[in-house]
């Protein structure tokens, strides 16, 4: 274990004349004057966002255009500032995705409450809610900042789905039904 007392040397006469400080400071400034810019002309230029960036939460559809959310309300439960409000709904029996049974009737995220923590994405068992790259959301009214289902799907779009769990389930059901 090393404890090092920090040394403090008194200033020399030259240093006390302020001159080395001024010259040294100017030298550093001059050196940096000829280095490339580190700032960015936002919003004309935009920063490159790394994968996994936590922007605004959005709802996504699977590659077949089916809405992935099954309104299990787990994200609503976990959201620490309680920004999410879901009204569950049934999928009509004659719809092609009737075997999924449930989808949200209403899905609202209050972006004035959301803290972009990503817990909703983390807990969602359907990978239906994703925090994507949208990081500057503004609006003129409070109502505008409460994202409804339509807006959430607009922002979310479609993401690839490596599992397609419900298609597999349907296929298994059909195969099971055929074998009976």
């Amino acid at each position: 274990m090393a404890i090092v007392p920090l040394e403090r040397k008194p200033l020399t006469l030259a240093e006390r004349s302020y001159l080395p400080g001024i010259v040294g400071g100017l030298k550093t400034t001059l050196k940096h004057l000829f280095q490339p810019n580190v700032t960015m002309e936002y919003p004309e230029q935009r920063p490159a966002l790394p994968p996994g960036y936590r922007g605004a939460p959005t709802l996504v559809k699977d590659p077949h255009g089916r809405e992935k959310c099954v309104s299990c309300q787990l994200c609503e439960f976990v959201c620490p500032p309680k920004a999410i409000r879901i009204t569950p709904g049934e999928i009509p029996a004659d719809a092609p995705t009737a075997h999924v049974e449930k989808a949200p009737k209403e899905f609202e995220i209050d972006m004035l409450r959301c803290i972009y923590c990503g817990l909703c994405q983390e807990v969602c068992p359907e990978e239906a809610i994703w925090l994507q790259n949208q990081f500057s959301l503004t609006g003129y009214t409070r109502e505008e900042m409460v994202h409804n289902k339509q807006r959430l799907y607009e922002l979310g779009g479609t993401l690839p789905d490596p599992h397609l769990k419900w298609d597999k389930k349907l296929a298994a059901e059909v195969a099971g039904g055929a074998s009976h």
């Binding site: 007392p5 200033l11 550093t28 996994g52 439960f77 620490p80 068992p125 990978e127 925090l131 599992h163």
Partner: protein, 422 residues
């Protein structure tokens, strides 16, 4: 006839003066001045109070006769909030304690709860935590130094430290998905594993950082103006520092070598070699020197962690009812799906008991005292925040100094109100 000076706007004073008996002839040779103390509020929105600290000062001319810190403007009731949510849901709130070093807070909180659950933490997870905590220390000290520079009139330093801090924030962003509100820890693990090639980028940052740090420090360390403002200003003696509960660089600046990373190692800090810099005088200049040197030591630790980065799991293996199952399992297995629901809704299951854990954060010792009656929600959570204790010395150290010295002292104490008020 004695000339009596009264403030023109002070009617009461004038009236009082009138009531006084006429001075005896001959005794009035010396003019009598009645001066008055002035009270002045610095903050809660003042550029040099770094957030929403209010200093209620009493001035005699420009000399302080009293300084009372008034805290609480940023109080959000975090401790009470914690009682109403599961352990993992509270992680985003720890970001908002010391918001200049959220990764270090995340880690301190997670370790506290893990000690309660008596979890076995795999070496890779420990290494990730040490690494992120040290990066947080560097970024916090960069900000602290830069702001200190501004406080005493050295703007340029802030620009350079901010540029470096920005590079660190890019790395944080890549790791956690957010620059400031990292929310990286989970009970028994972290939110996600390290991205591909990230360690290499951290290493590259460290290599280019050291020369720049030297350059930045050289702007201040031997600078006459800076030294005039800081040397022998705000001296805190060893005894005072200890009795006021100062921790972190402020305590070490006064010459007390208390560093929990050495004295009560956690998360595998005992494996790494580093020095604990201590000051000799306890003035603002010493606190500055300590921060500068600590950044170098942090870089030393980071390099050691990267050099022997352990493989293996990045979450506690035995944490079946605590750490949520991975996503692909949730999507393919019914049992894991149910487990996911259980952990999220009931919270990570903790045994009944209580634990106090304190970590050496950039600002000082951050302690979490968790009382559990079992289940997924803490029964009581107490946060010991270093900034709160560090600020308590202000009334003692400011008296007899000039207002401009107070600005230097505030800068050198490097506090964060998010954590002080919590």
């Amino acid at each position: 006839m004695a000339t009596e000076f009264t403030f023109p706007d002070n009617a009461a004073k004038t009236a009082e003066a009138k009531r006084r008996p006429e001075p005896v002839e001959g005794l009035a040779a010396k003019p009598e001045f009645t001066t008055e103390k002035m009270s002045l509020s610095m903050g809660p929105s003042h550029p040099s109070t770094h957030g929403v600290l209010r200093l209620q000062m009493e001035l005699d001319g420009e000399i302080l006769t009293k300084a009372d810190p008034v805290v609480g403007y940023l109080h959000r009731g975090d401790e009470k909030i914690a009682e109403n949510m599961t352990y993992n849901q509270f992680v985003p709130y720890t970001d908002r304690l010391d918001y200049l070093a959220p990764l270090a807070n995340n880690m301190a909180y997670a370790i506290a709860v893990e000690r309660l659950a008596k979890l076995d933490i795999p070496p890779r997870l420990q290494a990730i935590r040490v690494l992120t905590a040290e990066m947080a220390r560097v970024s916090s000290h960069l900000m602290g130094l830069g702001a200190f520079g501004i406080d005493v009139g050295a703007w340029t330093v802030f620009m350079y430290t901010f540029e470096e801090r920005e590079k660190l924030y890019k790395l944080f962003e890549e790791l956690t998905g957010a620059r400031l509100t990292t929310s990286y820890s989970r009970i028994g693990g972290v939110a996600r594993d390290l991205p591909e090639g990230w360690l290499g980028r951290v290493n590259a940052f460290c290599d280019q950082f050291l020369p720049i740090l030297d350059e930045v420090l050289s702007l201040l360390t031997r600078n006459k103006i800076f030294m005039d403002r800081t040397v022998d200003v705000g001296v805190i003696s060893k005894a005072d520092a200890l009795s006021y509960g100062l921790t972190g660089p402020n305590l070490r600046g006064s010459g007390v070598p208390l560093d929990l990373r050495k004295d009560k190692p956690y998360s595998g800090y005992e494996q790494y070699e580093f020095d604990v810099p201590v000051g000799t005088k306890g003035d603002c200049y010493d606190r500055y020197l300590v921060r500068g040197e600590e950044m170098k030591q942090s870089v030393r630790i980071i390099k050691q962690v990267i050099a022997k980065f352990p493989g293996g799991e990045w979450y506690a293996k035995d944490a079946r009812r605590i750490f949520a199952p991975p996503k692909d399992k949730v999507l393919t297995s019914m049992e894991e799906l149910i487990n996911n629901f259980m952990i999220v809704t009931a919270g990570p299951q903790m045994p009944a008991g209580e634990v106090y854990f304190e970590a050496e954060n950039p600002k000082g010792i951050l302690g979490f005292y968790v009382v559990s009656k079992g289940g997924g929600v803490p029964w009581r959570l107490k946060i010991r925040s270093p900034s709160f204790c560090n600020l308590s010395i202000l009334p003692k150290v400011c008296v007899g100094l000039l207002i401009s010295d107070v600005v230097a002292i505030l800068g050198s104490l490097d506090f964060v109100m998010g954590e002080c008020d919590r």
